[in-house]
């Protein structure tokens, strides 16, 4: 049945599905995992780095992109589609600054990306095969995290994950995202790493992390020391549990 209703975005199926959009969401599920966490004074983005071929230059594979000095995004899905979205968003960030002399709010740029995408789903062109996590600070200092998906909708989140194994990561976050867990900047970063370590196979080497702090531009984070700390904490907890059992 699906075969007759999935050729074009302009066709609904009898049970109300837009198959092209759903297939686009499948493309997203194949992408490498990305997680975003909104802390109190910090927003964190972490992505799973796909293993790079031996001869490939690692630093040319960037999945976290700055859109402006106070906003950045990570995506899951078709990299080529993402490039177009990122490019348009960057131009819009500067255009907004030119016309209204203010930096964009995170919501504005998310809405712009979503409206752009909607034009594709409505005009009979194929939807973008990416989900994006957009994080940043508004100029009043509020941290924000938004997620967009191929259907063109967007929502604000406290913490979210996209891509492969997003469900597992999201469940981990639902259990572990508490006000204490994000009390300090470092705690928020550790939470992001822990969430990714749930699904990333080879540990810290395959995680790329970026943070934005209020009034500071995007920074890539050195995660080796933090991963080592997390491993130590895990061991200590396991030790405690063993002692409890034995006593």
């Amino acid at each position: 049945m699906a075969a007759r209703y999935d050729r074009a975005i302009t066709v609904f199926s009898p049970d109300g599905h837009l198959f092209q959009v759903e297939y686009a969401q499948e493309a997203v599920k194949k992408g490498s995992t990305a997680v975003g966490i909104r802390g109190k004074d910090i927003v964190v983005l972490g992505v799973e780095k796909k293993s790079v071929a031996k001869l490939q230059e690692e630093r040319t594979v960037r999945k976290i992109c700055a859109l402006d000095e106070h906003v950045c995004m990570a995506f899951a899905g078709l990299t080529a589609d993402a490039r177009i979205v990122i490019n348009r968003a960057r131009v819009e960030c500067q255009s907004h600054r030119l016309t209204v002399e203010d930096p964009v709010t995170v919501e504005y740029i998310t809405r712009y990306i979503f409206t752009n995408r909607l034009k594709y789903t409505h005009n009979g062109r194929r939807p973008f095969g990416i989900s994006a996590l957009i994080v940043g600070f508004d100029y009043d200092g509020t941290p924000r995290l938004y997620q967009t998906d191929p259907s063109g909708t967007y929502h604000a989140w406290k913490a979210n994950a996209i891509g492969r194994s997003a469900k597992t990561v999201r469940e981990f976050l639902e259990k572990n995202y508490t006000d204490e867990a994000i009390a300090s900047d470092n705690d928020a970063i550790k939470l992001a790493i822990k969430a990714l370590l749930e699904v990333v196979q080879s540990g810290g080497k395959n995680i790329e992390l970026a943070v934005i702090r209020r009034n500071q531009p995007l920074k890539s984070k050195e995660i080796e020391t933090l991963v080592a700390e997390i491993e130590k904490e895990k061991e200590e907890e396991a030790e405690k549990k063993k002692q409890k059992k034995s006593s």
């Binding site: 700055a66 859109l67 402006d68 490019n87 960057r90 131009v91 960030c93 500067q94 255009s95 600054r97 030119l98």
Partner: protein, 168 residues
């Protein structure tokens, strides 16, 4: 009667611009800043037709920032100067030319300090010192009351003390 001046030193560029925004014979503002920060180490000083100055300078400013966002590093002063020149030249032969005179000052990691002179006909020249307008104070019928002064070196742009030049 606007005035811009720039001097290139061994490892810095010093620039100054007057602070008057005038409308025919009335001084509308006496604290107007004519310098536009294109990036951490590049300043664009812009005088000329009212409106054209801000419009053109802000357009260049945002495009330089866009380059930084897209590529992860900033345009060099030489590249920024040539980009500005190309834009001014393209608009020159359109129905809406910009009438602006510019000085572009910047510090490059590899090439050191640089000062570029550009006029409204889009002539670009790299020079060790350059100016637009009459800067005279003793023998000129008008006195410009104050000047904003800035210094660019390897550490970025620094504000210097405002110069109140006047008859002593």
């Amino acid at each position: 009667m606007e005035y811009l001046i720039g001097i290139q030193g061994p490892d810095f560029v010093l620039v100054a611009a007057d602070n008057v925004a005038a409308s025919s014979i009335i001084q509308m503002k006496h604290d107007y800043d004519k310098m536009f920060k294109l990036s951490e180490k590049i300043l664009l000083l812009c005088v000329g037709e009212a409106g054209d100055t801000v419009q053109f300078a802000e357009y260049i400013q945002k495009n330089v920032q866009l380059y930084k966002m897209r590529n992860g590093y900033e345009l060099s002063p030489a590249a920024a100067a040539n980009f500005t020149r190309k834009n001014l030249a393209d608009y020159l032969r359109s129905r809406t030319p910009y009438h602006v005179n510019l000085l572009l000052a910047g510090y490059d990691e590899t090439d050191g300090p640089g000062l570029y002179y550009m006029d409204y006909l889009s002539a670009l020249a790299k020079a060790p010192f350059a100016a637009h307008g009459y800067g005279l104070n003793k023998r000129f019928i008008l006195n410009l009351p104050s000047f904003t002064v800035r210094l660019i070196d390897k550490d970025g742009i620094h504000d210097m003390e405002k110069l109140p030049v006047g008859p002593k």
